[in-house]
Amino acid sequence: MSKYVKYNECEVKINEENIFALSASLSASSSSSANIVHGGIIESYSSAVESSTNISFQYYITGEIDNIRNLTGDISCSGEFGGIQFSGAYLTSYSVSIKPYLPVVFSASFNIFSGFNDTLSTGNFTSESLELANGAHTTLSNINSSNVGMDNPQEINYSIDCSRVPNYVIGQEFPQDVRFGSVVKNLSLKGENIGSLINFSGKDFAKIEIQPKTNNNVSRGQVIDCSGIINSQSLQVSKNGLVNGSVDLLERVR
């Protein structure tokens, strides 16, 4: 029997910790295709490759530590999404979006390598007080015209991408283990009133630290850091406008 569940709040749990999620999605695909035999008859459907499942969600941080950030290493987690429980999940992408006077939004994507149950249930996020990080109260270090060519960024996007390579062995539906691949941090700063063009050569180095904070100057999540090369920049200008630009930093962690 079909079951319809309405959510007023989006409930996501990672390692038994409730996450204040804005939206969440879970997708699974098996890559099945038809087996057409001699004579043109469709005999069956099957998949020749491993199925893939991933979950992603956007969320606000309600404490001083974001435990999801700690999953960028060689570590798996379990979780729950709308009552659907999963385990053997590995973080593949972690990102932060900071805009002035807007709550700082965090995003995370996971690959699930150990399957999940498919029983939906209702739930809700409860917390005594929700004090969220505000983009206007973000503490910035080393963001100035001499370092990255702008003094006041209007938008900051930060991401950590982690490569995960599953080790599937014959006879098993799920991988025996998961190899930890590359880890790359990207930091993108967008702003106006660009001072001077950076001497972009792909070798310029910058170290930037960002701390999202609440209106009451309380930290939300760990310091966002990126110390790497400036690998791209762009400038735009329009009539009667200021010069707008963006600078992208890349740090290869592993």
Binding site: H38, G39, A48, Y168, I170, E173, R179
Partner: protein, 326 residues
């Protein structure tokens, strides 16, 4: 590790193996000697306990494959008639091309060291699932190298290794077994302690004469016409027909993405014919016709859990050749 190559006096085979210890396997309920084991494990309806010394227990990755070739000398006579003369006694070549992808440094070192220690000459047992701890109904799984093959003794000569990233390596091993012959071919797929359902499939399909399992729609079909030609530098060529059996087909049949049951049917059908028995197969349009074929090689690839692809090369023969009356 030592190897004893001396002849075991009084017996045709040397029934002592480095990997089978009589001390380890002493006691009731065990196959006490290798001789007991190699005969009893094939025919006992309830598999006794046994334990190898230091078997190869690493499970390969999907994409690994098995190849079975039947070695024969083919002689073609006038009018297209052929004879298949088996070459030697152990003419069934069984090899496994095994991929060990995305393995940690630790596991990779163990695999490399295991193979290197055997120096390409010492035989070893490939046993991913050990017998201890298995129930009676699952005991037969300890005799698989890879399901559905009850063949575990191999040698391996090379260890090609690809380092993909930090702590991520891929190793490709080619395991070879040339011990199989018409005398023991049945034991490749069949032992008495396996499930009745699987034994029934094997018994049914090893005796079949007509190939009633549909291959995939994509098929390679080579039709050759045999004629007589006279060619001279001083004149134009002269062609004429060459009596009977002028047309012959070579087919490459692929059974894509099949399940475990169909795999067992296909393998049972082709393996037990050993490349010397013929079978009937109907090739559909275009140019639909039914003809007599033989199979000389089988390729089986493990795609995913319960999903396989099997390719067989078959060629047309002019006359029926069967050992089993049907």
């Amino acid at each position: 590790m030592s190897c004893n190559y001396t002849f075991n006096s009084g017996q045709f085979h040397n029934l002592e193996k480095d990997y089978y210890s009589e001390t380890t396997n002493a006691g009731g309920g065990n196959y006490n000697t290798y001789g007991d084991f190699i005969s009893g494990s094939k025919v006992d309806s309830t598999l006794k306990n046994f334990e190898y010394e230091n078997s190869f227990s690493f499970t390969p990755s999907y994409g690994s494959s098995v190849q079975i070739d039947f070695v024969s000398e083919i002689m073609e006579y006038g009018n297209g008639y052929i004879t298949q003369t088996p070459l030697g006694l152990n003419r069934i070549l069984f090899s496994m091309s095994l991929d060990f992808n995305n393995r940690s440094d630790s596991e990779s070192e163990k695999i490399i060291n295991y193979i290197a220690e055997r120096k390409g000459a010492s035989k070893f047992m490939f046993q991913p699932i050990p017998r201890p701890g298995l129930s009676s109904s699952d005991a037969h799984k300890s005799l698989y190298s890879l399901k559905p093959y009850f063949l575990q003794e191999f040698i391996c000569e090379n260890i090609p290794t690809q380092i993909a990233y930090t702590d991520n390596n891929s190793i490709k091993l080619n395991f070879i077994n040339d011990e199989m012959s018409a005398l023991n071919i049945k034991s490749i797929l069949h032992i008495e302690s396996m499930s009745s359902a699987e034994k029934n499939i094997i018994d049914e399909y090893r005796q079949k004469y007509v190939l009633d399992l549909n291959p995939s729609v994509s098929m390679s079909r080579e039709i050759t016409i045999r004629n007589q030609a006279f060619q001279s530098a001083q004149s134009k060529s002269f062609y004429t027909t060459d009596g009977e059996n002028v047309r012959k087909e070579n087919l490459r049949l692929t059974f894509e993405k099949i399940d475990d049951a169909k795999l067992l049917k296909i393998l049972s059908f082709f393996i037990f014919k050993q490349g010397v028995e013929s079978f009937k197969f109907k090739v559909k349009r275009p140019d639909e016709r039914t003809a007599e074929f033989m199979c000389m090689s089988i390729d089986h690839t493990y795609l995913y859990k319960g999903t396989h692809t099997v390719s067989v090369s078959i060629f047309e023969v002019p006359i029926k050749k069967r050992f089993i009356k049907c």
